[in-house]
Structure formats: C-alpha cells, structure tokens
Symmetry: C2
Subunit: 308 residues, 2 copies
DNA sequence: GCCGATCCATACTTGTGGGGCATCGAATGC
DNA sequence: GCATTCGATGCCCCACAAGTATGGATCGGC
C-alpha cells in the first residue's frame, strides 16, 4: 500500500466526536457508542492531530469542548445529519417511492388521452416520485435511453431497432391508427373513408424519412401493398408541422394517431379503408435499469392503458 | 468486539463512490484515488449492500450511474464539500485567525477608552475572529469563565479569588482610581480633592457587598485605614445605578473608574486624598484554554493598554 | 490524611477487514 | 482468432481499530 498523505478522517471520528462533544464526557459517550473508552481517546487524539487543533480542554477531572471544538461540533452535527438524510433518500429510492423518472414524450403521443391519464394517475399514487417529462422526438428518445440520459420513452414500435432487443425492454400500451388528415373544405372532409387510390391524385404530406426511417419505411411498405403508393410533396419532421400545413390547405396528410379526434377544428381525420397498417405505442426502457420506481411507472402505465 | 448492527458506512465509501460516479469508470477512479481497482469494487459492493440500492448499472463493458446513484452522488458531493469546509475551518481556528471569542465586559470597564480602542484594534487586525461581547457582572464573568461559557473577562483584580490562581490566567491592563462622585450642585463639586473625614458626614452610596464582596472588602479595609469608614446609606449593584442616584442628589458615591471624566454632565468625580486604594483592571481567562485567537486577543489588549 | 471513586491516558494484545496482486469472464475491435 | 478493455473474484498480508488492564491525577467522604 503506497503510503497515504490525504485525510484519514472517517465518519467514525465524527460520530465519536459528536457523542463526546454532546456529553463532554468520554465514559458516557463510550457507553452510548457501545465501545470501550480507550477507543475514543485514541480516535479523538488522531482527529485532533489531523486537524491540528485541540477539540477538548483536558481538565484535571473530565474534559470540556474547546472553542474550536464547539465550532467543529456544529459542523459535524450538520454533516452527520446530512449523511443520514442521504442514506434515507437512497433507501427510499430503493423502495421505489422516491426519486426521479425522466420520461420522454413525443408530441403526438402526449396527445393520447390514456397517456395523460396514466401520468396523472402515477403522480397521484407516487407523489414523491418526480416525473421529469421531456418533449423529444422518438429516435432521440431511444438514443437517450440507451445513453442513460433518459429513463423511459413513449414511442411507436417502428422507431425501435430490433438489434436493441437485449438492451431495451419494451411493452405495448396501445395502438395508433393511420389516417388521412384533410382540411374541412376538402372534398374528402365529409367522407367516412377513402382509399389509397383516391389519395394518389392529391398533394400528399407525409413523415420525414430522415427523422423517422423505421416509421416511414413501414408506412411506405403498407402503401405499396395497396398498389397506390403516394408521392409526398412535402416531408414533415413533426406532426404539428404536418397539421399546420394541412390547416392552410397545402394538401392532405398521412398521420398516425389515436382515434379520429383532430387537434384542429379545421381538420378532419378520415380512415383509409385499404391501408393495412397498425403501429403500437410502446413503453421503452433499459433492460438493466433496476429502478423500482421505473418498474412501478411501467406497470401503472400498462394497467392504465388496459382499463381505458 | 461486540458485533455491530449500525452503519459501517465511512467517508472512504463516499470518497470512492464520488470518484467512480464522476468518472463512471472504476479503472480511472482507482488511478485518481491511487488505489487498486478491486478495492473500489469491494467498497462499492459494501456501500450498495448497506443502502440496499444499486448505485451503478453494470453494463457488459463499464458501468453507469443508476438513477439512485445519480441522486446519491449529488448528496455525497455536498457531504464531502461540507467535510472539507469543516476541516478548513477547524484548521483556521487552530491558526487563530478564525473563530469566536466570548468576551465578558462589565459596564464600568467597558467605559475605559483603552478597552474600546483595544477591541476595535483587534477587530481590525483579525476581521475573521468574531468578538462575542457580553455585558455581565464581574463575579458572573469569573464563574462563566471557569464554567467554560465565557472565554475571557475584563474585571477588577478584587473580583478574582486567589484560589483560582492555577485555573485562571490573568494579566493587568490598567488601573482604576477610586473617586467620589458628587452632584454638580454639591458643596464638594468645585473641590480638587476631599478626605474621608469630610465624606463621613455625607449620605454615601457604595457598592453592594453581595454582588462584589472582594471589591467591597478591599475598599472598606482601605476606608478603615483612613480612620473614617463611611456608612453606606445605599448599596448599589451596578455603577450605573449609583450614578443615577448621585445624579438625582441622593448622596455622594464612592466609585472606581478610569480618570476623572464622569459619565453624566451633572456629576463630578473628585479624588479622595487620604484613600490609599488602587484596583487593577485584569484580563482573565482559563489557563487551559489553548485557543490561539484568545492568546492573540490577550496580547493585543495588553499591548494596546501599554501604548495608550 | 487515608481510602476509594472518578476520569482520561497509556501499554499491550488481538482480530477484522481494507488493500495489493493475480486472474477470471464477458464483451469488443482489428 | 487474438489482443484489449473492464469489472468481479480469490488469496494473502498487515495496518489499525478495539478490547483488557493499568497508570496517574484529582476529588470526596469519614
């Protein structure tokens, strides 16, 4: 062992010092600490040597805190309290009733009612667990989860690479329908459904392949199966951009969302009858993450999704 | 050694954890801490067992802080900072340039100019040493010093019991003259001096034997030596009470103070020519008190007194 | 003034456990 | 496949914390 220069000071010294300082009596402190008195004498001697200060005045009979000792005692009380607090909090996190969960939310998924209800429900049941909600794109979420800067994501299954199978755990909590978004003044607006063939003649807005390749490719493959793959006149990186463009009449848009309730009164969402395409809304988290709070969160979200 | 239930957690665990948590790498942390890597593995294992929480996610290659670990790291950083701070402060007190000195001041002695100057001078030279000035009677000061609730007192020598010789250190920093306090309208007011014989016919105010027996007895002994011991019509427990009574014409008062400058424009202080009585203003402190700041304070007050 | 009690310090011994070294096992990159 | 990275494990050693016994100084009771 290469000899040590640094502080050999340990919590033991502080715990002993606190006990003796409070009592101003080695014997009683030793009793309280359940150690023999000479142990205290030695540890205090070492502590004083380390600090270069006498912490006690040695009286002919007994000891008394020196002025340095009095000041040091105050600090030690704080330190030991803080240590206890840190231990308690760590244990609390072990129990899963304390901590922070960093949740990734893409805007389109945050719009699902049962997601909101689930988050609300969890907050009510675990008020001491902080939900750190972060709005971020699906691919970014997956990367952040793998990297450890995010704990759980809410994304479409299409965004999850199968090669991450063993590092990322996942669970489905719902499905997303793929619909056509049209402006209320559009000819399709009053229709109950449309076909891909009909869409082919329109100016079509779709997702951006660069920001969501898995999603894009699965959608395109399904379109091709109908025999009427659209040509996107504009790729949109987010659903809100796409909706904005539809709202100003730039064209019709293919979007995946929950139900047929549109986010804008000027927009109608129409089922596409011949498109065989379903996405799953997935919870994603690191398989190695042992956080009990996270497990509880996942369980509660899944349960909430089922009973919706 | 009776087996221990309590926390075996030590600062070593926290220091190791902090290093590894910062690096998220056992090897580099071991290098920084100048210990071998297996030592860290074991200490972290013990720490996790103690807390009941996994602080790191073990990856196939390397580690990463778990969410509990992240939270714990923040607390540990605080704790270790606070420990360093406490050590620095303790060392500072060892150097004598930091700390608190509890100074007892009786009102009459606080009125001495060179005392005020001395306190001011010390504060200027040691701005990081807090002077905790406490107004209290002489006997109370001596008791508090012996008891350890006061660090240094400023009292007349008459208040110090010789039997405390080996427990209380003392040093003279000036003398106090014993004078007659008279109202400006009194017949003595324009005199340069009076005799005890003249005083004998007056209504005389003096100190209270109960609150200052040493002072009272020395004064009375000197009075008796003059052959004209006064009879006190009123004993006063403090000088301010005595001055108040003199100011309203209740009588003349025998007081010990510095110079002939009275605290009240209606009062004159007249020397008593035949009274052979001198008191010393003393600094008193515990002989066992090793505080460097206190020594510095005592030295500075003595020096200030000499050069006044 | 002697005896016992109190209280911290010291001397000596014991055993726990922290650390070093060597090695393993798993994953990764060329 | 082979070398490398990285944490975990096994084994040994010795440093040091704690225990027992005792010393030295003071104080109180009779």
């Amino acid at each position: 062992m290469p000899h040590k220069y640094g502080s050999a000071m340990e919590l033991r010294h502080l715990r002993y010092f606190r006990a003796i300082g409070r009592e101003e009596h080695f014997g009683r402190a030793a009793l309280a600490l359940r150690v023999a008195q000479p142990a205290l004498t030695r540890q205090i001697r070492d502590l004083e040597a380390e600090l270069g200060v006498e912490l006690f005045e040695r009286l002919p009979r007994g000891v008394r805190l020196s002025s340095a000792g009095r000041a040091f005692l105050e600090e030690v009380e704080d330190i030991l309290k803080q240590v206890d607090r840190a231990v308690d909090r760590a244990r609390g996190m072990g129990s899963g009733h304390l901590g922070t969960i960093r949740v990734g939310l893409s805007e389109i998924i945050a719009a699902y009612d049962y997601i909101s209800y689930g988050l609300f429900h969890f907050r009510e049941n675990e008020p001491s667990v902080v939900l750190d909600l972060r709005s971020m794109g699906s691919l970014h979420q997956v990367a952040a989860i793998k990297e450890g800067t995010l704990d759980v994501g809410l994304v479409y299954d299409a965004h999850i690479d199968d090669r991450d199978r063993d590092v990322l755990e996942r669970a489905p909590i719902g499905t997303g329908e793929t619909l056509l978004a049209v402006h209320q003044s559009h000819a399709f607006a009053q229709r109950d459904s449309v076909t891909m063939a009909e869409i082919a003649g329109e100016s079509v807005l779709g997702p951006a392949r660069a920001t969501a390749p898995g999603y894009y490719d699965r959608m395109m493959a399904a379109c091709i199966r109908t025999g009427n793959a659209p040509h996107f006149t504009q790729e949109c990186t987010t659903h809100s951009i796409l909706f904005s463009l539809v709202a100003v009449g730039m064209g019709v848009g293919i979007v995946t969302t929950a139900g047929t309730r549109a986010p804008n009164p000027n927009i109608r969402l129409i089922p596409i009858s011949d498109l065989d395409l379903q996405f799953h809304v997935m919870l994603v988290w690191r398989a190695r993450d042992r956080s009990v709070a996270l497990r509880r969160f996942v369980d509660m979200m899944m349960q909430q999704a089922q009973t919706r």
